[in-house]
Amino acid sequence: MAVIETSGLTKRYGETAAVEGLDLTVEGGTIYGFLGPNGAGKTTTMRLLTGLTRPSEGSATVAGVDVRERDRLGEQIGYAPDDPPLYEKLTAREQLAAVADVRGLDSGTKRERIPTLLDRFDLDVADDRIETYSKGMKQKTSVVQAVLHRPAVVFLDEPTGGLDPNAARTMKELLAELRAEGTTVFLSTHVLPVVEELADTVGLLYDGQLLAEDDPRALQQRLAGDSLEDAFVELTTEGAAADAAGRR
């Protein structure tokens, strides 16, 4: 069953279209790898799907909720943007507790999940203020915050950026577990091996348009590349991108 559905989703800033006519369907309980070069419109798409940015045209639903209904949408999703959305003056533990309270989680659930997730990511600085954290520690806190309430869909923008190899592995394990529990993960990253290893479907965005969408292995085979990286490079070279856009 489709959990994310968009139809002709478009976002324009003046004359410039950041995302144009995006048609996406993401099945529930899967990991969707969202790829694209810098400036392709990935972050804008994430913001559209999380209700942070209003579409110029088209429609989108996430977990059955129209993305224009931000409050209802918020109950269904978790979002960890590239810039960790944290209060610098709080400690990680306070941050997570506060967000849990704002989301209306009961005390028992908070007490069970917060320490477990903190331990899992080795956030032993959870009682220090976030302003003292490295980028990686902030990233971990942000991801924990996004999954704390066990949302139906999790949007993760570059979740492995700044993480050390151990934390990156933990992150991958977490993503796999989320999928196993039925959570849909919408993952944007430049770390192609992560997508190659975990994603059920890969979507490639270029210049605001979806160039290709397929199973990662099928995509490689289709483009006769040795890896997803080859496929990415081939598709996003200017000429190829124009051809692909033309074919669509």
Binding site: Y13, R47, T50, G51, L52, T53, R54, R70, D71, R72, L73, G74, E75, I77, G78, Y79, P81, D83, P84, P85, L86, Y87, E88, K89, L90, T91, R93, E94, L96, A97, A98, V99, A100, D101, V102, R103, G104, S107, K110, R111, E112, I114, P115, T116, L117, L118, D119, R120, A126, D127, D128, R129, E131, T132, Q145
Partner: protein, 573 residues
């Protein structure tokens, strides 16, 4: 960079001279300043309007001014000379106070300067900063000064008299811009270089504002004191090309030479002080020691005062660590006023504000306005002390809405996306912000009104009750209309105070102040009538207060609806 014959990469760039570096950095900083002015129609209009206003006052359009002094010159040169000298000293005091306050803000090692510091020398960056300050001062006051000198010359019928007046006044402006920068650097050295507590910082801010206030209202006294010092020779410099006025040329030359020397010394001092200030750890570390209760990095999950059990975690992340109590504790104490989720947001705001008290920076000017009003209206004005409670009500209410509610999105900083996608709801966010401001601010303001009213002794109970209702309505309006205005402006419009603190947009502040004043005026007039005459006229008092209260309540409701609607449609771009 280029590749040498042996394959190694070497830098072919020659180190530019200091003059070249100064030129480049200055060009960039001044271009930034001027572009900022040009790109903001409101800022441009403010600068032009300010110039026109100052010029109109100084030239004599609104009363006695430079033109009239010029006309009077023919009749009584000696008295005109004396007035020009006195006015010049008062102007020196005012400009110096303003420049000093500006210097404290200008001297901060902000990111753009840090970017330059990695590419060029400190001296070049300091020189550019000085030029930027001078340009800013000339843009603000230059045209008015030229117009004033010209008006004096026209009035006197001697065009040459405009030369020393104009050039001398412009030089005083330039000198004050340069001479006050070391103070700004020292102030920043004290604040950034020493581990001042947040209370000490607030105290420092209050002292600076107090000095500003004293200098503003004691300018005549300060000018008279300076009259016995070489600073008074500034008058000789200004009047150098005015004939028949008894100018001391040696004094004028001595002042010019002395001020040039001082400007040079100040420039050198600035370089030295900048080296001490801009490279200190707190500047680069971005850790705001004053906001962190001197315990950043320590395990300080608000234990003690909030009685937190930090607990222990088992090897698999056991659940015996109960660290989620802080927000619950706060929230629980607020459930009489709002829902648990709203209480959580209120508690979150308070906790962050307590750790970043400078987010309340804009509260202080409103409080200062209250002091100035009290001084101007009652202490040296026509009103009796019965006006004090109304002044407290108005200034206090304005202060309540001047903190984080005037920039409701900006104060959330990087966490804004998390808050907007939390499903909390726009209405809840607006209510929580308003409660966070009103719950501590309201009792303070109302307590002040009652306390002062009671202390006055002969204050009638009906007048006190009317003033109380007036203050309550204004406090409610303040917390909501500030949000209704604040949500219209980008959350990260400016970063003046460093760290995660974003100050309100200037336009929002202006509209908010004008709006609050407009609503407060009828009530102020009603209470003012009593304070002026001492006679209680129910129709005037209750009529004035009634209009203010009714308008405030209606506007508060409309502001709430507007803020919620606006937040609903808010789009992170």
């Amino acid at each position: 960079m280029s590749e040498s014959p042996d394959g190694s990469v070497t830098s072919t760039g020659q180190r530019p001279s200091l003059a070249r570096s100064v030129f480049v950095v200055t060009r960039v900083t001044v271009a930034q300043l001027l572009r900022k002015q040009r790109s903001s129609p409101l800022l441009l209009a403010t600068v032009v309007g300010f110039n026109c206003f100052v010029a109109a006052v100084l030239v004599g359009v609104t009363g006695d001014g430079a033109y009239h002094l010029g006309v009077a010159l023919a009749e009584s040169p000696a008295s005109v000379g004396e007035r020009v000298r006195r006015t010049a000293l008062v102007a020196v005091v005012l400009v110096t106070v303003m420049q000093t306050l500006g210097a404290a803000s200008d001297a901060r090692a902000r990111h753009r300067r840090l970017a330059f510091l990695t590419a060029t020398s400190t001296a070049a960056v300091v020189a550019a900063l000085l030029v930027r300050r001078v340009v800013a001062a000339l843009v603000l006051f230059g045209p008015a000064i030229v117009a004033t000198a010209a008006a004096f010359a026209v009035g006197a019928g001697t065009p040459v008299s405009a030369v020393s007046l104009g050039v001398g006044a412009l030089w005083l402006l330039v000198a004050s811009a340069v001479l006050t920068l070391p103070f700004g650097l020292v102030a920043n050295w004290v604040v950034a270089g020493y581990d001042l507590s947040s209370n000490a910082r607030v105290g420092l801010g209050a002292v600076v504002l107090g000095v500003f206030y004293l200098a503003l209202f004691g300018r005549e006294l300060v000018a008279a004191t300076l009259g016995a010092t070489p600073v008074a020779w500034a008058g000789d410099l200004l009047l150098l090309t005015v004939s028949g006025i008894g100018v001391s040329v040696p004094h004028a030359v001595a002042f010019a030479v002395g001020s040039v020397a001082l400007v040079g010394l100040a420039g050198l001092a600035c370089v030295r002080l900048a080296t001490l200030t801009w490279y200190s750890d707190p500047v680069f570390g971005e850790t705001d020691s004053a906001d962190t209760d001197a315990s950043v990095g320590s395990v300080e999950t608000a234990r003690g005062d909030e009685n937190i059990d930090t607990g222990t975690r088992g090897p698999t992340g056991g659940t015996d660590g109960v660290q989620t109590a802080p927000v619950e504790t706060f929230g629980a104490s607020l459930r009489w006023a709002c829902s648990p989720r709203t209480a959580a947001l209120v508690a979150l705001t308070w906790r962050r504000t307590r750790r970043t008290p400078k987010v309340l920076f804009y509260v202080y000017p409103s409080a200062l306005v209250g002091v100035v009003m009290a001084e101007q209206l009652v202490l040296h004005g026509p009103f009796s002390p019965a006006m004090y409670p109304a002044v407290v009500g108005f200034a206090g209410a304005t202060a309540v809405g001047s903190g984080f509610t005037l920039n409701p999105l900006g104060t959330e900083g990087d966490a804004l996306p998390a808050l907007l996608t939390s499903g909390a709801g726009s209405g809840r966010l607006v209510r929580a912000k308003a409660l966070a401001a009103v719950l501590p601010g309201g009792p303070l303001v109302l307590g002040g009104v009652v306390g002062i009213g009671t202390a006055l002794g002969s204050f009638p109970a009906t007048v006190l009750l009317a003033t109380l209702a007036y203050a309550l309505a204004l406090v409610t309006l303040a917390a909501l209309c500030s949000q209704a205005l604040g949500v219209h402006y980008p959350p990260d419009h400016e970063e003046l105070l460093g760290g995660s603190v974003k100050v309100p947009n200037k336009s929002a502040s202006l509209l908010y102040t004008v709006g609050m004043t407009a609503v407060a005026l009828p009530g102020f007039a009603g209470i003012g009538q009593y304070a002026l005459s001492g006679t209680f006229e129910p129709v005037v008092l209750f009529g004035g207060v009634g209009v203010s209260v009714a308008v405030a309540c209606a506007l508060a409701w409309l502001s709430y609806r507007h803020a919620v609607t606006r937040l609903d449609s808010y789009s992170v771009e």
